[in-house]
């Protein structure tokens, strides 16, 4: 025990923990509670039945009443433990409830109905995740369609972004040509004015291209990201020109130099941009909200948002859908945490 305390209170170099160390750990503990707590609460809640969700005060874990299938009864009957009266201490199955009395049977004698006071029994429950919340999503709501819309938009847009941005970055990093300064200035200029302040004309342009209310209307307008061009260009600048010259001496065409030499060597930066692009697209909200109008074209985010409007009180499906929407992000994060963190820090956000 003393060893454990010693281990926990050990700091690198200095002997005992200073009060500031305690304060730090207290702050971090509070942080974990505030950051993780709500999300975990949401995930746990998504496994509760609607009845359980309506309960106040709520319980942490999802409970469901224990039931039993008895002869002579078509439906499974809920089990109760009797707290008072002649049957006190026994477990009984409730057949029906009338006013303040409840008609029960003992599982050993399913034919013999006994009336007891409602106040004299408590339900028998056990922890049981309500998976039907999730099942409903697939059966009643067209979850797969939204999931597919989001996936298609995310992957296609990311592929286009990577190709188009890396080509532009290559030109800006590795060629000297007249007008390069102007292009770089243009890219910086557009960087300053985000999509969210040109919604009206962007809507018109997208409409003129006939891409409104189609996945392409979401994919194409955001494909040439200035951030992506900058990120890749900065990385490509670090590739020595001598390598490109060597490839030219090896009779590689410029296009071949691009995709056989420069692209593979920029893999770390490309990976960062790919992850960023996937995140942006998967979570994108404002532009799809404007560009997509028929609900069959909705992305997951839009569907989720419109459901929360339609199903104000039907939290059971809404919570399950929220969990499924955040799941891919959580998985990506769990595996690629380091990449994402450095990537986002290096671009300074969007």
């Amino acid at each position: 025990m003393a060893n454990v305390t010693a281990f926990l209170t050990r700091t690198r170099g200095r002997g005992r923990l200073h009060w500031t160390d305690w304060a730090s750990y207290a702050y971090l503990a509070l942080g974990v509670f505030l950051m993780f707590g709500p999300v975990i609460w949401l995930v746990v809640s998504s496994f509760k039945t609607q009845a359980e969700l309506d309960r106040f005060p709520p319980r942490f874990l999802p409970y469901a009443p224990e039931t039993v299938q008895l002869d002579g009864h078509a439906e499974p009957l809920p089990l109760f433990r009797v707290t008072d009266g002649p049957l006190a201490g026994e477990t009984v199955a409730q057949v029906r409830r009338i006013g303040l009395t409840s008609q029960v049977v003992r599982p050993e004698a399913p034919g013999e109905v006994v009336k007891i006071n409602r106040a004299d029994r408590v339900p028998v429950e056990r922890v049981k995740p309500a998976l039907e919340n999730y099942r409903t999503l697939f059966e009643r709501f067209d979850f797969m369609r939204y999931f597919w819309n989001s996936t298609f938009i995310t992957l296609t847009a990311t592929a286009i972004t990577l190709l188009v941005n890396s080509m532009a970055a290559f030109a800006l990093a590795k060629y000297e040509f007249r007008g390069r300064g102007a292009v770089v200035a243009l890219v910086i200029g557009v960087l300053m004015v985000p999509q969210s302040v040109v919604l009206v004309p962007l809507f018109m342009v997208t409409r003129e291209f006939g891409m409104l209310d189609s996945p392409w209307g979401v994919i194409i307008p955001g494909a040439a990201t200035p951030t992506g061009v900058f990120l890749l260009r900065q990385y490509m600048l670090t590739i020595p020109d001598e390598i490109l010259d060597a490839a030219r001496m090896d009779k590689a065409s410029e296009w071949k130099i691009f995709w056989r030499i420069v692209l593979p060597l920029s893999a770390p930066a490309i990976a960062v941009l790919a992850i960023l692009s996937i995140m942006w697209r998967w979570n994108d909200f404002l532009w799809p909200l404007i560009a997509l109008s028929r609900s069959e074209n909705y992305t997951l985010q839009l569907a989720l948002n419109s459901f929360q409007g339609e199903m104000r009180t039907e939290w059971s499906s809404l919570l399950a859908m929220t969990v499924l929407t955040l799941l891919p992000v959580a998985l990506v994060f769990a595996f690629l945490q380091k990449y994402i963190a450095t990537g986002i820090a290096s671009t300074g956000g969007k």
Binding site: P240, E242, I243, D245, A246, A247, R248, M249, D250, K251, A252, S253, K256, R260, I261, P264, L265, A267
Partner: protein, 382 residues
């Protein structure tokens, strides 16, 4: 290592003559190469040497086709190649940083160029194996460049050039990233490679030792201009000007300024030096610079014509000694003696230049002063 005459069935020997005619390069208004004329003969090992910024690498890149030519003409094997892209000039280049493709294995590095030439796969494999064996990198073929030592990377870079069977090899300071010991080893190896393949090679370096040891012919460049072209010893023995004299040879040649006085030389420190008659064409009163290499200065007992100097520093290497001294006029002189010396710091020495090894330069133009052969012989007769 490799010796000439081994069987290399898959590498054909191609070679070509390289001619530069008034080749000029400018970046905007800055002229970095000013009218270079040069012919590198077929099979010759030609070294471009000069201080950094002299344009030697630019000139090499112009030959390679990676840099275009502002004016003048480059001919390879007789054909003007000014407008031929780099890849089609039939050259190969070894870069200073090696420029290996970091994401490819050694084998892929060697075969990339051949694939681009659409060489059949089987032939690529054979050529790569053969070159790898020749350069002793055959056991490294599946490694990535980052897993190789400096010397091994250097060999791969050379190998990548060799597989291309170029008419001319271009080397851009290939040894500058290696440590001293490896550099000596690789010097020998590149020389042997030349002996074996017999291609024309153009080699750029700032290191005059590399130039002296490897070259058939050295081209000394300064400020984008050719200062002198010649065989190594030719440059050492009869430098055309002050710059070449100072650049070739280590330690540097000593320079002392003075004036011609009645066929003799009066140095600025007041001392007189005898100059062999007939070897130089001298005019009375001309400002000249005397050049004498450190190993041609001999300490002597006090004489009339000797140089008087005070020892300021001594480097004893065991086999050789270097003595750094200062003349009465404050000019630094160094001398190189074989063996060990018993001179000490602060000692006064008298130095006699070897009269047969004197160099005289016109102080104003820097040009070497030599009697032209006609006047030379007439002077002897008189």
């Amino acid at each position: 290592m490799t010796t000439a005459g081994e069987q290399t069935p898959h590498i054909s020997r191609r070679t070509a003559r390289l001619e530069l005619r008034n080749v000029t390069k400018s970046f905007g208004k800055a002229e970095v190469i000013r009218g270079v004329d040069l012919t590198v003969e077929q099979g010759e090992f030609c070294v471009f040497v000069g201080p950094s910024g002299c344009g030697k690498s630019t000139l090499l890149r112009m030959i390679s086709g990676l840099e275009n030519v502002t004016a003048g003409e480059i001919r390879i094997g007789g054909d003007v190649v000014n407008d031929v892209p780099a890849a089609e000039r039939g050259l190969a280049m070894v870069f200073q940083s090696y420029a290996l493709y970091p994401h490819m294995s050694v084998r892929q590095n060697l075969s990339f160029g051949l694939e681009n030439l659409r060489t059949p796969r089987g032939q690529i494999a054979e050529t790569v194996e053969e070159v790898a064996a020749m350069l002793q990198i055959d056991m490294l073929l599946d490694r990535r460049p980052k897993d190789l030592s400096g010397g091994q990377r250097q060999r791969v870079a050379i190998g990548r050039a060799v597989v291309r069977e170029p008419r001319i090899f271009l080397f851009d300071e290939p040894l500058s990233n290696l440590d001293a010991e490896l550099r000596v080893e690789m010097r020998g190896e590149i020389s042997r490679l030349h002996a074996r393949l017999g291609n024309t090679m153009v080699y750029v370096t700032h290191d005059q030792v590399e130039a002296m040891t490897m070259a058939d012919r050295i081209v000394v460049l300064r400020d984008g201009q050719v200062e002198q072209v010649g065989a190594p010893l030719e440059l050492y023995n009869s430098p055309a000007n002050l710059f070449v004299a100072g650049f070739i040879g280590s330690p540097r040649m000593n320079f002392l300024t003075g004036r011609v006085e009645a066929g003799r030389l009066r140095l600025d420190n007041g001392q007189m030096v005898d100059v062999p008659h007939g070897k130089f064409s001298l005019e009375d009163g001309a400002a000249v610079t005397l050049g004498v290499r450190p190993n041609h200065l001999i300490p002597v007992a006090e004489t009339v014509s000797g140089l008087h100097a005070t020892v300021r520093g001594i480097e004893q290497l065991g086999g050789d000694s270097y003595v750094h001294a200062v003349t009465a006029a404050g000019e630094a002189v160094s001398l190189h003696r074989p063996g060990q010396t018993d001179l000490t710091v602060g000692a006064e020495v008298y130095l006699e230049p070897d009269p047969d090894q004197l160099h005289l330069f016109d102080t104003a133009t820097g040009r070497a002063l030599r009697a032209d052969p006609a006047r030379d012989s007439s002077a002897e007769k008189s």
